[in-house]
Symmetry: D3
């Protein structure tokens, strides 16, 4: 008897709660809003939506920078849509470099889990903050500031970068300047780089103009 | 000549920028506000302020839960004050458990870096989402919901939890119910637990009343 | 003449303003985003959309807890979608209890309008803050922390809880632990409760496993 | 033995948590920041800080508007500083009116607990939304829009207004226009009111110029 | 060779980035959410979406207030949807006035680019802050407070108002009181204005009731 | 009599409001928090605090870039502290350039008030959006993305940039790379620029290492 009464109360509460959304798993095919993707129906959400397994194996570092960035942002990991956090895996083979870049939308916490990494950022006041991180060390990079990572030793380094946004963005300075159709004249005028230097990097990075 | 002129422009800009604060390294002795600690003077900030080295060694798991939580929140890692992110290290010896808990102030991204972890959360709509995570796997826990971690295998597991706040808080349900002076009568009335059960756990967890 | 000129100016302004959205009455059938429901067309909005009349009569307290929670969150009161506030009515018959629970998404202001209520919360630092509130008294519960309400007298108590979010969520600890399919083994491992206790409450609250 | 080991773990956790701030009870004498007052030391906080008892008796309505507004904003109720909510009590004797006003900083949820109230707001698109609320009815007023309350019946009405900010502000149009030193010339030029009307209300409301 | 390898890395990164949304150009025909309009597909976005040319010519000031407000909010300038800023042009012929008004959703920075403007605001604490601005001067108006602008000289004045929201709203007090169907009785009761005054302005501004 | 009664009500309200803070004029000597500077006492605030007159004359463009940036951020214009907006003046003599830069903390609305400006930004997805703006034209630059301005004609151009933050920051790429003590080796490794190019610009911009 007691049980039945309680159950009816429970059902009552659950009916109310059925519409509560603690999360908003992204419907990647739906419309996007400034706050993120629209939500998959809660009825279709399963535990799998909240798990990302893409970091089980290392990123492919057989490229010119000997490094790889594997993001688990909302587009790759729909479960964190709207929840204010995301994460990415960095692999740096010996000699590997994540070139100078910014995340326009969030601050970053970097955690080294293998090897060592020389990393740093430059502030708006033009100060430089550089450190060598060992396994287990963490560094914070304030939102939107230029920073970089370099493998600091002779073995492959692995790190994870966490962000205070499901979609922090990533702007690699070299790609922004030399990897698109921004004209060489505009690049030179706005960076004071020499024409030969700009054209050389445009050629390497596939830029035109 | 060109150089001198440019330098004077640079100095002009730098003077303006000297007051720009991209970051706010916590002055732990200063007053706190709802947005976090007040800031250490930028003139006294060095690269060391942005690095946390407390995760180099494992947390001590020789305790009853065979597990340890080591936070790098703003109080432990002043450099991330005001920047919207933080991180904690979890060590779980074989049989180790991080008991049912919530973070009132932020969502969590959990990354397994060693061993395996069985983990899950319960939603407001009372749904259960449980998964076993292997090394490299990531799970997202929406803000404020009950969740737990259990070592999923025979060896020590290590994980890192990142949060979308420099101070997400941590409320372990058992400690909240049984580890303080909240009277047994109130605990029983509000949880429907039996008196013997409450008194037993209060005894184990050091609660009174 | 004056009037006509002014009117044309007015019309001009009104044309501009026609697209201004001070509010976003929820279209409960439309897609949801992390910031809430999409908006009903302003052309179809009337004063009725901004009024909720569901609190005119008391909630049904003839259940095992002798209490009822009636929410006016965005799903029940579409007019407050996106506006950062919501409200719920609490009815507690003599002996009534709102069991230990949290609101993952917002702080709560509780106002007693009839009878008296013993209420309190537990902080992340494991401190207990309990008070007996009389008619007219208000208590604040910080976001995401465990709290409870108990009828503090011999007559029915009525209170209203206001929240700093249109959808604060509600997680009742007992329902989360014992009212779903979370396995008894996992509950016991993560709460240190005895097997008999867990199974008893699972039976009462309709949980399985 | 078990108990001692657990206790030491508990103490470890508590040491970490000692710096966790779930709340920020206002130190009204300390410096204020854009996010609110600085915090009283948690060590000095008691349950009393989270309770406001100023609504136990009715506001004094023996004045020209036959009404009273009693706020429990952060300056009156320091416990809700930084927590994103606040509340105020409205008393309206028969014939009482809360004149046209706005809250610049938050949306409002109005709850009638005694009598009836005629209330409404005007949108940016110049639409009017007016309703008569009975006991138990709730109306939502979007942030910053002009609204008013009038006693809708023959007995005293009581209502509570909750806000999505600890400090929503209150700007009563009549006081802003006629109750200060804003010159009559400026008032007339910017409102198109007649000089006699402006001077009459300035006289009643204590304005000069 | 080097180039090819780099390019493949670049393509890899670009694939990831293809889903990154730094912006959310409004799809004015799509559903709206509390955070703004849903986004136009990035594939269809061009530089033109980020430019607004509607301020090239002056607003039409041949009306009773000898002034014009031309907004570039999200409805007029879809490119700034979700980006937290907007702008409007003000033209004030000699004698021109922007009547007393508020922006419910954002603070305003006013910049005078031609002529001079007498402007001011009234605070919640009922203080008046009035200044005459010359060309190049800037004034800040805190969110939601009553303010006005008057041409301060003998020639046409031009100013630009920037806002900390893509949709700050605009509520002109006179229009809200006298330019709609809000009944004269309600206006008089909530503003203490005389019946003749209310009816006169209702007549001028096209209000009924 | 009526007047006296009303006045006493007014005083009552004003007492309550005396602690309401619609604004928080920065006390530049006080402690800073993540939400901005602490507030000057409202009793000492005057209309002058809300006005900035530093844009009355043009910035000095007799430098190598033939351009000047004059910010009115919170450090220069304390009145906008905490209010979510700021503004800067740009002067570009013929041939003048504001070099490639980002604002880490806010989106920008650029308004051309004299001459013409060629300007553009590069997205995270590496797309380029460039336009020539004429007098009166406005362009929006999303938060944190690289952008630049070049005088587009034969006469001096003047523009104003408004931001959705009182302190958006400013990071000029060239200064960040070449104008400080970041070692040439690190610059080269993270940008792929040639050693000679880096050393040349370091020499021009005053960098060392």
């Amino acid at each position: 008897m007691l049980k039945l009464v309680f159950l009816s109360f429970l059902l009552l509460i659950l009916t109310c709660n059925a519409s509560v959304q603690d999360f908003c798993v992204a419907d990647l095919m739906g419309p996007e809003s400034p706050s993120g993707y629209t939500c998959k129906s809660p009825a279709n959400v399963t535990a799998t939506d909240f798990v990302f397994t893409g970091f089980r194996k290392a990123g492919n570092t057989t490229n010119i920078i000997n490094a790889a960035v594997s993001p688990a942002f909302d587009a790759q990991f729909p479960g964190l849509n709207g929840l204010g956090v995301s994460i990415a895996r960095l692999d740096l083979a010996p000699g590997g470099v994540i070139p100078m870049h910014t995340h326009p939308g969030a601050s970053e916490v970097l955690l080294v889990v293998q090897g060592s990494i020389v990393t740093g950022f430059i502030s708006s006041a033009n100060q430089v903050y550089v450190k060598k991180l060992l396994k287990g060390d963490v560094m914070i990079f304030p939102q939107g500031l230029l920073h970089f990572q370099i493998n600091g030793g002779g073995r492959t380094a692995v790190a994870f970068a966490s962000f205070g946004s499901p979609n922090p963005g990533l702007q690699i300075t070299d790609f922004a300047l030399f990897g698109n159709k921004l004209s060489s004249a505009l690049v030179e005028k706005t960076t004071f780089l020499d024409d030969a230097q700009v054209k050389k990097l445009k050629s390497v990075l596939g830029g035109s103009g």
